[in-house]
Symmetry: C2
Subunit: 715 residues, 2 copies
């Protein structure tokens, strides 16, 4: 059934109608124009025709089928009902004939001067579930299609879902399941299910219509009536716009990868504004580059110094030998444009603009000036208004913050410098293995989609986590995310989720914060894992690369603390995971290891006083049995099995199975005195995502891994 | 309007009907009985009467007003519609006459043996919003009244809310606002608002009915039609039960306080099963009592030893001098009953039962035996199956865990031992000031309501946090919570929230886990702050006693990191707090301190490169201005203002204002390298709730404080 919608709309007809309406300076289509447009896209609306005589009306009604609605058509009569010019549920030929006469004479009586063009005879819409289908033009994502249940469910409960337009049939079907009241469409209280295929088909057609014509600002089909026998849009409203979407410079995937490789794996870098003076950014950057151990060439540029930190300094970047891959700017904003021209003439492909004082402080023109210079010279810009960036596997620390050297699989980016510092501190305290940390700041050029494209290809990166407040080009981001997600998880913290947050985003970056409902659905559609908060983003970033990908849905809890088992079960459900129904043979196998008063089933409650051997035997069984796909461990600190004993046995067993090729996600919640903290760190470094004093976090990270595995099509 | 519902139901009539039905072995009332019951409680239902003849029917219909519904009445015909025994919308005398004949003959044809008592003629219900009002008998809370919008909103979206029965008029009005679709009742899409007073009045009456009669198991008014002109229950269903509610032994508030004071502030304790042998529980308990520094007498009881850890040992508790306040049991389950009898004869009022091997391992009879012994002797039991308890201000560590000595204001309790260990570890690592930690285990006697009653009075306790999986007596808990909440916050982590969690709770404690929807609403009604997870409970417990109570709703964010400002704004909204609209004069006052490109408004974005003086000036202004009630700080780690400099200035300013009598909650999110961790600890210890690497947690704790302040009636 999926993607079965194929149709050949009459685009020329629609194009002509829109063009004509715009030419008349109109911002909406009339009802007959709307009807013509929907007909051209095969969008079912009530059949109708203009009848100029009673005979005509009877013939039309017979063709459409009874009952029909009849309405006066006169340019002078706007309020048809007031004029006695509307009759509905007209059920037979005789009634149609009589209604025609009545309507016309009512109209004449109402306004003797009105020109009467005839009576519109319209098919009555069959009863059904009320649906809203529409499209809007989102500032971030462009044309977007919306679907919800009409009436109070949309209006009061805001139960509506969005996808990029055009939507595929699969997208459309996912929308039918994407609303909270989805069950209604499947039939409740004895009602029949609606025709899902016809409904999804309608979504596809409407979304295609909006996508085909930049001149269409909004489409509203409200209500659509859906029943077991089909769908019909009872009312159509189409709004127009003559604003052309702003064209944004796009680079090809190849172009992006070439310049990003030189940015992230440079052989040499120039530091413009390098300084010997403590406390200067140009000094911190130089120190960090040197102390970080960068193996390539570092060229300090400073017109007033002969050497910087013992390295020969150059008066101008033009004097630097060769062609560095990156120019790092540590000079005040007002000098950036001049130096950037030199960087361009030197053919340096990347400029990292640490200085602030551009769009974020209202200096939009200054920012536009440097963007123009960069485009003229083919320079890609990172920033301005950033802390710089780390490329850990290159020992490259091109920032004014402190160096970071724990190499690993997660690449992190942040739009805000403050969040970048939080990333750094968190990574350091948890010893999270990092491939890169990149500040994006004002995103005058390079943004999340460029970075995603690179990190998707980068072999050192297993997981990408991004803090962002807006997207300059939502479509480019979705494209890059879709190309990346099948290979590695992408975590997104979208700040400005709420109305208050979005307001703050506006004042901070001058960027229009998108409507969060649209972001929510479209980020999900693109396969990224959205983190609800900063702390979640950081924990997902730390944990996802550590966990192997689950091969199925069956999660089993093994716990020494019954109390933890209950809370872990809560967390399993909260995170959309499945507590495995344990089959009898497996239940018996677990029971063999646990005291008679322990509870098998799931959670497997081994009880609190058990020795290490009970933990080990049950964990082994959990890893061994191929029907189990993930383990959640609940540890209870006792004298019999101290924290590090538990950590060592668990890490050892997991490693042993991994060597045998059996890799399952294992996460753990450790309840105990402070020694559990070291035990958790020990476990984390050995591939078991473990947390003290919380039953929620380990399961949240496991849940994020599952969400990614599903989005990547691996489950 | 509140609590204006006063009515005098005819209880005798209802009692007689229920008694008669139960005497006949029935578990439900017939429609006429239901009608009589609702009439007795003034619950509006359609007028109706039994007609034995067609003439009768016409007369009744004329009295009620046309149209009417007509239904066969026969004890043998349960499915009236199947029997052709129902007609609705009968609109005239002639139609009533004909309907009577048809219905009766249909019924005779359907079942020739059926006794036909006549035809019920019923007023048709006026149109309105469909509502569900009902009552159930909850295993935890007893009679509970439910309210929701009928139809799909209840059935598909489970949009329903609960309160204890009987509900007050205020309770009932809060239910109208307590559903997600509350807006519908206020009128949407041009519809009129329903008569809220009549609707709330109906809730009160139904809840009173259920509360008055233990024999009523369930009441279902579904649907009730509510409109601007009133309410009417179209269908009434009343289910009966002859199961008497299990009586639970209750102690008076005075009795509880007397024995709890001796438990928590004992002058002397006896340790039954005290031991010199390392690794034995009776050894750990003795060591902890001694090492913890308990100043009262400690009497080891051990028939085989002369002294234990250098203290004279007694063969039996009977030999101990005086009358200890507490007997701590560290002997196997099978010996408990015998020793407990001696404890009773010795007049010791409290027994702390550490041993496991009772109900939690299926030994229900053994547990019942000790409960009976305790009741016979007037001993209160803590446990069995617990780690013991800490009474920090008494330096009392009556557990087999490690001692804890950071005295402070939070009392923590846990049903599970594992969670108790997590509490201990968390408290130690965060240096949380604790007044008590108490294990509740099987709760054979003492439970949360006893502890709440005590901690509510205890001057050392400012905040109470409880982990629980069930409540033995929900009503007693609500009563204790309501008495305590106006004085101090009560945080509850209710485990087994989800269906999967509840299932695990069942297997763990043998307790029936209540329906979480009921728990959710009734815990809120009782004013407790529900923590969504273990980590939240611990953070609330740590943070709430530290924060002063806010005096108003206006929250202001002051941030050095614009990015944090956006995330903090998100968190403000997520936690139901209000970002203050900054008046122009205050805006100007803030602007005087921040760079021209900084953003005033709210968040106040002082920008990233600012010196300590900018943080200090803006924080001072925030504390000084009486229109601001709470501050949320976003710190960004820079060389100009290092973490400890920020922490010291913030703590100093807050302390200075506190000395001047100006106390406002101040929370902080610190974004930076690892030094921010020490800065957070420094701030926390000085009354500022501060967290590194998260923008969510500080605002969550502030949100919990606001929830409490509202529940306590302080806002």
């Amino acid at each position: 059934m999926a993607d079965s919608t194929e149709f050949t709309p009459d685009k020329d007809a629609v194009g002509a109608i829109i063009e004509a309406a715009l030419a008349q300076g109109r911002t909406s289509l009339t009802a007959p124009e709307g009807k013509a447009v929907t007909d051209a896209y095969g969008i079912p609306t009530p059949g109708e025709a203009l009848a100029e005589s009673a005979d005509d009306a009877v013939a039309v009604a017979a063709r459409l089928g009874f009952p029909v609605a009849m309405k006066i058509v006169s340019p002078e009569i706007l309020h048809k009902t007031d004029a006695g010019g509307v009759q509905i549920g007209v059920g037979s030929a005789a009634e149609v004939r009589s209604a025609f006469t009545t309507i016309v004479s009512n109209a004449r009586a109402y306004d003797p001067k009105a020109r009467i063009l005839g009576v519109q005879v319209q098919q009555m819409v069959p009863a059904g579930t009320e649906i809203l289908i529409g499209t809007v033009t989102d500032p971030t994502f462009g044309k977007v299609v919306a679907f919800g249940l009409g009436g109070v469910l949309v209006e009061v409960l805001k139960d509506v879902t969005f996808r990029l337009a055009p939507a595929t049939k699969d997208d459309a079907l996912s929308m039918l399941d994407g609303i909270r009241a989805a069950e209604i469409l499947r039939g409740v209280r004895g009602g029949a299910a609606v025709d899902r295929d016809a409904l999804a088909d309608l979504v596809v057609r409407v979304s295609q219509l909006a996508a085909d014509f930049p001149g269409i600002a909004e489409v509203d089909l409200n209500p659509v009536f859906a029943s077991a026998s089909g769908v019909m849009a009872a009312d159509v409203r189409i709004l127009l716009t003559d604003e052309a979407p702003v064209a944004r410079r796009r680079y090809s995937r190849e172009e992006i990868l070439v310049s990003m490789r030189r940015l992230m794996e440079p052989r040499s870098v120039a530091v413009i504004g390098a300084s010997n003076e403590d406390g200067k950014i140009g000094n911190s950057v130089m120190r960090n580059l040197i102390d970080g151990g960068f193996a390539g060439e570092i060229y300090p540029v400073n017109p007033k110094a002969d050497d910087i930190l013992g390295r020969k300094a150059y008066k101008s970047v033009m004097d630097v030998p060769g062609e560095p891959d990156v120019a790092i700017f540590a000079i005040p904003a007002k000098f950036v444009a001049g130096a950037l021209g030199e960087v361009g003439r030197k053919n340096i492909p990347n400029a990292v603009l640490i200085p602030s004082g551009f769009a974020e402080t209202g200096e939009d023109e200054l920012q536009q000036e440097i963007v123009t210079i960069a485009e003229d010279h083919g320079i890609r810009l990172l920033g301005p208004n950033i802390y710089g960036y780390y490329s850990t596997w290159q020992d490259l620390c091109a920032t004014f913050c402190t160096p970071y050297d724990v190499k690993g699989g997660v690449a992190l980016t942040s739009q805000s410098g403050g969040i970048g510092m939080a990333i750094l501190g968190f990574a350091r305290t948890t010893r999270t293995g990092v491939s890169a940390i990149v500040g994006l700041g004002n995103k005058s050029d390079l943004d999340e989609d460029d970075l995603l494209t690179w990190f998707g290809e980068d072999d050192n990166t297993d997981c990408i986590a991004m803090h962002l407040e807006d997207l300059k080009d939502g479509r480019a981001f979705v494209e890059a995310a879709r190309a990346t997600v099948p290979k590695k998880p992408v975590v997104v913290l979208k700040a400005g989720r709420t109305a208050a947050g979005a307001k703050a985003a506006g004042s901070h970056t001058g960027a229009l914060a998108g409507d969060d409902a649209v972001y929510e659905d479209i980020l999900r559609q693109s396969g990224v894992i959205r983190a609800p908060g900063l702390s979640d983003m950081l924990e997902y970033a730390r944990g996802l690369p550590v966990l192997p990908t689950p091969k199925g849905d069956n999660v089993v809890i093994i716990t020494g603390a019954g109390g933890s088992g209950v809370l872990l079960s809560d967390a399993i459900v909260d995170n959309g995971l499945s507590l495995m129904e344990i089959p009898p043979d497996l239940d018996e196998a677990f029971r063999a290891f646990i005291p008679p008063f322990g509870a098998a089933g799931n959670p497997v409650d081994i009880t609190g006083g058990e020795p290490p051997s009970t933990y080990e035997a049950t964990i082994r069984l959990g890893l061994e049995d191929p029907r189990i796909h993930s383990l959640v461990l609940g540890y209870w600190h006792t004298i019999v099995t101290p924290p590090m004993v538990f950590a060592e046995l668990t890490a050892r067993v997991v490693a042993e199975f991994r060597e045998r090729g059996i890799e399952k996600p294992v996460v753990a919640s450790l309840a105990g005195d402070v020694e559990v903290e070291a035990a958790c760190q020990y476990l984390y470094e050995r591939g078991v995502v473990a947390y003290p004093y919380t039953t929620e976090k380990p399961v949240e990270v496991l849940g994020a891994k599952y969400r990614w595995a599903r989005a990547a099509g691996l489950l």
